[in-house]
Structure formats: structure tokens, C-alpha cells
Amino acid sequence: MLAFVLRRLASAVPTLFIVVTISFFLMRFAPGGPFNLERPLPPATMENLMRAYQLDQPLWRQYLTYMGNAVTGDFGPSYIYKDNSVAELIGKGLPYSVELGFYALLLALVGGVIVGTIAALRQNSALDFAVMSVATIGVTVPNFVVGPVLTLIFAIMLAWLPAGGWGDGSLRFLILPMIALALPQLAVFARLTRGSMIEALRTDHIRTARAYGLPAKSVVVVHAMRGAMLPIVSYLAPCAAALLTGSAVVETIFTIPGVGRYFVLGAINRDYTLVMGTVVLIAIFVIVFNLLVDILYGLLDPRVRHD
């Protein structure tokens, strides 16, 4: 098991390297630059800026410098948020994004699995139809619609919850953004669960469990659900990585100081170092969660135990 984890971590290094390299050059080949503003800067100023940030160097040297620094954990200064390094920006925003994302993930997973299981057990009933229609809506309605609608109803009309901000970090502030963030994922989990539960309930070993008089609860929970969890666990990795690294839309709507905005803002402003920083962050999350999911998979299914 330890060998498996070490092997996987070792194989993450080349993956990260490739991701960073591709992103670096893609970013540089995109037209524009960090200092191309609507009103062009005087050439002398521009030249000074370029020199200050070493952007006047040949691209390969910039790349080597960047990589050299990145290995030591130095992701450079942000070109736009001039008083901060990229590491500082991410370090400040990440805890907010992770906390919010964690609650959203929990809500999506637990809610989705419960809803999907109910739908599967009442397959093709009115309840199944109703629940799954809502889930379809959850997938199709984007969160920049869900967010404002939630705010309108619960913050403005009913005035039960704050409309935005982090406040003291208490649950009241988190509920609305959490729902907005979780809803589409909850719908995906519900659909996945329904499908794999229906399949699991049709297997031969479920027939065996029923033929041996095991009560319905144990048939569903002990025998069907564990097998049905496998596809859900697979989806968990990309979902967790996406939720925990923040959402630009939800963080903007609810004015949460997370890292989700940086990716979009950095890309729009050609803030090379900030984009690179978020790319590395997301890549690490994806790699780590994929590894966790593979370990979880082995725990759930003895047929894929790792040695």
C-alpha cells in the first residue's frame, strides 16, 4: 500500500511538470501581456516594467528561471496585485475556498446519494420522476442564476440570511454560497447514484441476498450500496478538486475572498504568474484527490487492492 502511494506520488512529478510547461507557453503565446492596458503606457515605462519583471529576457530563459523558482516554492510576484506574491495571494484566499468547498462537497455527496438511492428504489414511480426532474434542472441551471435567485429569496425577501461576505465565518454566511456551489454537483451525484444503484440491485448477488431472507435494509445498504458507490467515488476526485479550489462565479456573487476569482482575473489580465500559480494549485488538488480516490477504491473493492 505504502509502495503504491509512493509510486503514485513519484509519477505525479512528471505530470505536474508537463502541466506547468504547457500552461507556461500557452499563456505566453496568447496575444497581449500584463501591461497592455486600454491606454498604452509610454514606451520607456513599458521597457522599465519589462526589465523589472525580466520579461525582456528570451522566453526559454524566462521558463528556466520560472521553473527554478517554482521548485523552491517561489511562484513570483503578481503583475496586477503588485504588493503581493502569488504564493501570498493563494495562501490568503485558499482557506476560504477550501472551507466553503468542503461544505459544498459534503452537501452534494450526501444529498446526491440519498436522493439517487430513493429514486433507484422507487424506479419509474412518480417520486423517481419528480426527484430526477429536479436533478436535471440542477445540472442545467447555471450557478450565476441560482446564486442571485437564492439571494433574492432568502436574503432580500425573507431576510433570513446574509446576502454575501464572509462575516465572522459562521454558518449563516456559508449557507447560500454553499447551496449555489453544491447544487449542480448534487444533481450529478444523484443521477450517478440512481443509475448505479439500479444496476447494483439487478445483480446476481443481490438475488442471492434476497433468496437467503436478508432484510431489505441490509440488502440495500450492505450489499447494493457499497458496489454502487464505485462510480460515485470515481467522480469524487474531479468534483472535490473543482469545489475546493473555489468558483469564480459563486465567490464573486457572494463576495467571498477565496482563490476562485484569481484564475479568471489572472487569465483576463495576462497576469502570467498568477495564472501559473492557480494552474499548479488545481493540478496538485486533482492529483492528490485522484490518489485518495484510488486508495478509497481499494478499500471499497477488494478486487482492486493495491500491493
Binding site: 446476481d204 442471492t208 473493492d301
Partner: protein, 538 residues
């Protein structure tokens, strides 16, 4: 042990039982009002072909029908009505008083839990206590059903066991609560012949020991003859005949029963002369499978599936290749057709094909065809039958016009005994036997010289099997075809082949003319195989 008096009072009395399924095309009656009795300690065989309702009868009684199924009528276990019993009360009976084992040993156990835990769960549920307390009992059961090293195996997962062992575990589970009735639904169909015989012997020994009744659902009359005391013959949801086993076999009353008994394949064509030219030959065939290590993991190993086998197929000859699963017989067939990487010297007619690559082999492919075991998986569900069978013509006779191809398709379908209108329909609209005919038509349309038949009849009912064998023999004599007939079913091999090759662990154990092999096998393994196939039981 249960103290059952051997009275003739039935312990399970089924009266006018009906099972129907609601489908989009209307209701389908699978069982149309049948009555039968199960007496204490007896073995009752319920015989019939697929679709006869033999399994659904038992599923209906046990409350295990699919969601769209309904059961009506009466089934009384010791006076207690089971039809319409609420699940809670039904759960008192199933798994304790009446237990079941199934056809699919590979999938009937939950893959995610150790086998011991699964058996313990059934004990704990019906008798109380904890799983830990049940463990000695589980060990005892595993010992009883002949699992080697039960102390170790109790914590094994199903995928770590062979099919035969898994079926033994199922039997252990079935015996755990000392039932009165064990329903065995095709318990050995998915197993190799030698394992079949062991499992049946085990069931018989345990039956005596525990004095339980066995309801054996099967299509295999060989098993019925050696195993059952009474027989119920079912067809299309009805009972056509029932009575003592000896009586049924010696003096069958219903035409259908007679047909079933006579459906055992027999007769054989004449062997070709010994000096007939060789059409397909493989010398010193070796096939190794690489088991990959993977990235950053150096543990690649090889598995030798076929180990230095030589085989020469003469024109007009049928060579039967016999062996149990894993013996390498299918791999050998693929190697002979140069479909997989293998070592050895191969020739087709006078052509040396040892060194040919894919492109080099392509012109010869039409003359060397392959028919697969699974008539469900080997036909694309998204193509019409016409498209499926004419696909090879695009490669080998590209000059044909659409009308020509259609003509050939009509001819090929007629030849295999299908309505030419079939070419506009899709595979799922056909039965297993019809699909196998389609697969044969796909091979025959190219007018091949040598055909490898890989278990072409194993997925089919006996009576359909007989028809497919007739068809294959007929095509062979009409076109002078040569066959390599791969099968684990010895009675079919006997009816088809001039020459038999017995394989085990990738090697040829014994070979010779069919009659010599069957009447005087020399090797112990051949004797075991033949003994298991023809003398099931003590």
C-alpha cells in the same frame, strides 16, 4: 439434524401456480398454472429448455421475480402459504427452510465481502448471535463442502476462488441453516465437466446426510438420469409430463419428452482418407501471454497458454479440440488463424503463413473463418443481419454491387435455414440458435475452406444444439469444409469429429481417432473427462 419422517406427505405443494410478466408488448405468461409436489428427502428434477418457465416457477415461489413479475396460485410449505406472504414472513422461510443455489457461481456471491462473512451473515440473520460466534460453524460448513484450507479460505474474497469453489461456498451457505428443501437452479451448467461431477456428488452426499429434498432445475438430461428420483418436464410454462425417472427415460409419454431424450447428438460422418491433403497446419505452436507490470513497476511475467502443440487439419476433416476452461483450446484456435501473436510454423494449404503480418494474411482470411461461442456478444447489435453477414464481402470481393451482395446474403441465409427476410432485421430479434445460424452464415458467405468453430453450440439448448450440429455437418459435406471444433462438451465433439485432441494446461494430453479416444482412452486425464461426462453420479 432434522428428524423428518419419510412420509409421502409433500413438504412443498404447488397448485395451479402462474407467473406472468408485464412488458411493453403486453403480459407474458411464463408459467401457466402448474401443480407439483416436493416430498421430504427426495430429488425432484424440473427439466425443460430455456423459456420453459422452470426457473421462474421457483423464483415465483421464493418471491424473487423481477419487478415486473407477478405470481398467483398456491405454494404451501408445510401447510404455510408462500404466495402473497409479506416479505418479513417470507424471509423466515427463505434462507432457512428453503434455500437456493444458482447457475452463476461467478456472480452469485457479493464480490466485496469475504465468503466467510457472507455465510455468517445468513446464519446470524436466521439464528441470532454475532458473526464471531458463527465463525466456527462457518468453518465447519466450508470443511463439509470440501473447501481446502478452510481456515485460510474463510477470509478469501469470491474473486480469489475458482468457479467450482464458489459453487461450494454457495452450497455451504445453502446448508448453513439445515434447510428442508434445496433448490438448485442449473447448479453445474457454468462449470467444467470434472467439476460438475464433483459438485453433483457433493450435493448427493450432503442430501443423504441432512435428509433434505433437492429440487434440481436443469436442461441436462444426463444429470437428471443419474441424479433425480422423479422428473417434471416443462415446456412453455406447462408441465408436459411427470413421473419416476426410470419410467420417463424408458417410456416417455409426451412427444416433447421423447424429442428431448433423442436430442442427444448422435451419428457421425465418415472420416476423410488418411492421405487427404493438409489444409491448415500449426507446428510447435507456442502462445505466451504477457502480464504487464505497469509504470514504475517491474514485475512483468508471462503465462504460457499454449505449449508446443502441433496440429494438422486435412481437407474434409473435423478435429475436435477438447479441454476444460483454461486448457488453451480457444487460444490454439486463434493462433492457427494467426489472429494472435504466437511462435511456431504455420501453413495454409501449400502456403507458409508463419511470417505473414496482418496485410499478408488478409487475402487468405476469407478461406479461414471463425465462429464464436457467444451468439449474443459476437453480433453487433447496431447492424442489421444483412450488414453483418455481408461485411466480409466488402473486403474480399469489393467488386460486388449492392444487388450482388444482397443476392449473396439471401443465399447464405437460406443455406443456414433462415428466412431471407431476416437480413433487414437486427440480431436482438432472434433467438440464440438463430443468432448462431447468422454467425455461421457470416462465415459461410465467404466460401471458406477451413473454419474454426469455438464452442459454437455451448450456449444453446440441447434440441437447438442438435439442429446446429446437423447444419454444420450438412455444410461440411456440401462444400468439403474442414473444421477445428473446439468444445468442452464431449457428446457434441463425439458427434462432430473424426479426430480428437485432448488439451490440458496448454499441452496435448492425448490425441487420436474419435472412436479410439472415446472407447479406449489411454491417459488418466482423458478417462476422468469422459467418465465425468458420461457417468455423472456414483
Amino acid at each position: 439434524m432434522a428428524e423428518t419422517q419419510k412420509t409421502m406427505e409433500p413438504i412443498l405443494a404447488v397448485r395451479d401456480l402462474k407467473v406472468s410478466f408485464t412488458t411493453p408488448d403486453g403480459d407474458v405468461d411464463a408459467v401457466k398454472g402448474i401443480s407439483l409436489d416436493v416430498r421430504p428427502g427426495e430429488t425432484l428434477a424440473v427439466v425443460g429448455e430455456s423459456g420453459s418457465g422452470k426457473s421462474q416457477t421457483m423464483m415465483g415461489i421464493m418471491g424473487l421475480l423481477a419487478a415486473n413479475g407477478r405470481v398467483s396460485g398456491s405454494a404451501k410449505y408445510r401447510g404455510q402459504e408462500m404466495v402473497g406472504l409479506p416479505p418479513k414472513a417470507l424471509n423466515e422461510i427463505r434462507g432457512a427452510k428453503i434455500t437456493m443455489i444458482f447457475q452463476e457461481p461467478m456472480t452469485s456471491l457479493d464480490p466485496l465481502y469475504p465468503v466467510g462473512k457472507q455465510i455468517a451473515e445468513v446464519i446470524v440473520h436466521h439464528r441470532g448471535g454475532t458473526r464471531k460466534e458463527a465463525r466456527p460453524r462457518v468453518l465447519e460448513l466450508l470443511k463439509l463442502v470440501g473447501i481446502p484450507e478452510p481456515e485460510r479460505r474463510i477470509d478469501s474474497y469470491p474473486h480469489e476462488m475458482s468457479g467450482g469453489q464458489r459453487q461450494r461456498v454457495m452450497i455451504a451457505m445453502a446448508l448453513a441453516n439445515e434447510p428442508d428443501i434445496l433448490i438448485a437452479d442449473e447448479p453445474t451448467t457454468a462449470l467444467d465437466v470434472t467439476i460438475q461431477a464433483q459438485i453433483l456428488k457433493l450435493l448427493r452426499d450432503l442430501q443423504k446426510r441432512f435428509d433434505m429434498a433437492i429440487v434440481l432445475i436443469t436442461h441436462d438430461l444426463g444429470i437428471v438420469r443419474h441424479f433425480a428420483e422423479r422428473v417434471v418436464v416443462m415446456r412453455r410454462g406447462e408441465i408436459v409430463e411427470q413421473g419416476g425417472t426410470a419410467g420417463i427415460f424408458e417410456n416417455p409419454q409426451a412427444d416433447y419428452t421423447r424429442m428431448l431424450i433423442e436430442a442427444e447428438p448422435h451419428g457421425r460422418k465418415a472420416a476423410p482418407p488418411d492421405d487427404a491433403p493438409i489444409i491448415l497446419e500449426g507446428r510447435n505452436v507456442v502462445v505466451d501471454y504477457k502480464i504487464d507490470g505497469g509504470f514504475l513497476k517491474q514485475r512483468a511475467s508471462t503465462f504460457r497458454a499454449v505449449d508446443n502443440v502441433s496440429i494438422s487439419l486435412r481437407e474434409g476433416q473435423t478435429i475436435g479440440v477438447v479441454g476444460e476452461s483454461g486448457s488453451g483450446k480457444s487460444t490454439l484456435g486463434r493462433a492457427l488463424l494467426r489472429l494472435i501473436a504466437s511462435k511456431g510454423a504455420y501453413r495454409f494449404g501449400r502456403t507458409d503463413i508463419s511470417g505473414l503480418d496482418r496485410t499478408g494474411m488478409r487475402p487468405l482470411r476469407r478461406s479461414m473463418q471463425l465462429v464464436f461461442q457467444d451468439p449474443y456478444g459476437s453480433l453487433s447489435p447496431r447492424q442489421t443481419v444483412g450488414e453483418i453477414i455481408t461485411e466480409g464481402l466488402y473486403v474480399h470481393e469489393p467488386q460486388l454491387s449492392r444487388a450482388d451482395r444482397d443476392k449473396r446474403a439471401i443465399a447464405a441465409l437460406k443455406e443456414v435455414g433462415l428466412d431471407p427476410a431476416a437480413r433487414n432485421r437486427y440480431p436482438h430479434e432472434f433467438s440464440g440458435g438463430q443468432r448462431q445460424r447468422i454467425a455461421i452464415a457470416r462465415a459461410m458467405i465467404l466460401k471458406p475452406q477451413a473454419v474454426i468453430l469455438d464452442e459454437p453450440t455451448s450456449a444453446l439448448d440441447r434440441s437447438v444444439q442438435g439442429q446446429v450440429i446437423e447444419l454444420l455437418r450438412d455444410l461440411q459435406s456440401r462444400y468439403g469444409l474442414s473444421y477445428v471444433f473446439i468444445s468442452h462438451d464431449l457428446s457434441v465433439v463425439r458427434a462432430m469429429s473424426d479426430y480428437v485432441v485432448v488439451m490440458k494446461d496448454g499441452k496435448i494430453v492425448e490425441e487420436g481417432p474419435t472412436d479410439a479416444i472415446f472407447s479406449a482412452p489411454r491417459e488418466d486425464y482423458t478417462k476422468t473427462l469422459i467418465g465425468a461426462a458420461y457417468n455423472i453420479g456414483p
